[in-house]
């Protein structure tokens, strides 16, 4: 018998391109955020609220991932930000190769912050690094508080958990304490912010969290003047 030693990661090609994306973004100090959730949790609604706040200080670009169509990209383009739509054509997640050209364009443009809106899915996106600095996940209260136990990898990966649709809480059996405890079993250090994209609750807190992360990447506090180069 002849044994051929391979010893390579099954996602080695994705990881290599993600590393390239990360290195490209680093050359211009661009901060990148990967926003993930199940379908319908409110990723686009959150971005509609959040990005105008970030855009008062930073030049923000978006790479929008959907299986088909451009409905979300059209919603976000109304904010006056550059949005690139990627249709995965059936694939259940964005991967580093799909976003590579988009990242390249952003790096050669004027932006300071890049947001990836991933395909709605709590499983596959968790395994595919895009080259982002941080991963944020949304869990809406209509989905149930047991999700951290059912999709541990996503909760382990995210630095921030946004509990969305808090305006609907009274209409559901969602137990916030149980959800937060379960998320912290899987990821003890995870930050948690409660939001409603209808009322605006918590959006400023999310913006502040992102601002702190941008400042940490740039190694200095956020500049006071808008869009300072």
């Amino acid at each position: 018998m002849h044994l051929i030693d391979v010893q390579t990661g099954l996602l080695a090609d994705n990881d290599a391109i993600a590393a390239e994306n990360r290195a490209m973004l680093a050359t211009r100090g661009i901060y990148a955020l990967n926003v993930m959730s199940a379908p319908g949790a409110g990723k686009t609604s959150l971005l509609e609220r959040l990005l105008p706040l970030l855009a008062t200080r930073w030049r923000v670009a978006v790479i929008e991932g959907d299986i088909v169509g451009s409905a979300d990209a059209e919603r976000l383009a109304k904010l006056g930000l550059p949005v690139e739509q990627i249709n995965t054509g059936g694939a259940c997640h964005l991967d580093a190769r799909m976003v590579h050209h988009g990242v390249h364009d952003v790096v050669h443009g004027p932006s300071d912050v890049l947001v990836f809106e991933n395909v709605g899915n709590l499983v596959c996106p968790a395994e595919f690094d895009l080259g982002e600095d941080d991963a944020v996940m949304l869990l809406s209260v209509t989905e149930g508080h047991d999700k951290p136990k059912k999709y541990p990898l996503m909760f382990r990966r995210a630095g921030l958990l946004v509990l969305n649709k808090m305006d609907l809480l009274a209409m559901t059996d969602f137990d916030v304490e149980v959800a937060v405890a379960a998320a912290r079993d899987v990821h003890p250090g995870i930050a948690v912010i409660r939001t409603s994209c209808r009322t605006g609750e918590g959006i400023a807190e999310v913006a502040a969290w992102v601002e702190r992360r941008i400042a940490a990447k740039r190694g200095r506090p956020a500049p006071p003047s808008p869009k300072a180069g």
Binding site: V6, Q7, L10, C92, C124, P152, R156, V186, P188, G189
Partner: protein, 123 residues
């Protein structure tokens, strides 16, 4: 469903290795999948079976070695298993633990007959 893409990559990498090494019939591909890896071993096996026909690994078996989830504690230094995805040190209860096993998604090795063996083997 990304298992299909991963199986395709597995075959591509296997063919690259096989081109460089003289070999007989390819018998087995060994992969190591952690308990907390985002890949389902059964789906991967199914995808591999679908894609292997006509490739350099046609007829080979995919063997999956599972790795249980384990953490190492920054506080007490012990390595303990993780039950129910509760990330605490199993020895001292500290939250400052790092995953040291269970996230693997690795293509380990290929078993093939020796080239001489293959030359002598009846069809």
């Amino acid at each position: 469903m990304h298992e299909l893409g991963i199986a395709g990559y597995l075959i591509e990498v296997a063919e690259q290795h096989l081109q460089r090494a003289p070999h007989g019939t390819v018998r087995r591909l060994l992969v190591r999948i952690g308990e907390m890896a985002g890949v389902n071993p059964d789906s991967l096996d199914f995808a591999f079976t679908c894609l292997q026909k006509g490739t350099g690994v046609d007829g080979a078996r995919l063997e999956v070695e599972r790795v249980p989830l384990a953490v190492e504690c920054d506080a007490c230094g012990r390595r303990t298993p993780v039950a129910d995805y509760v990330f605490r040190c199993g020895a001292c209860g500290a939250e400052t633990v790092r995953i040291v096993g269970g996230r693997e998604m690795e293509f380990v090795s290929i078993d093939a007959d020796d080239p001489e063996e293959a030359a002598c083997a009846p069809d």
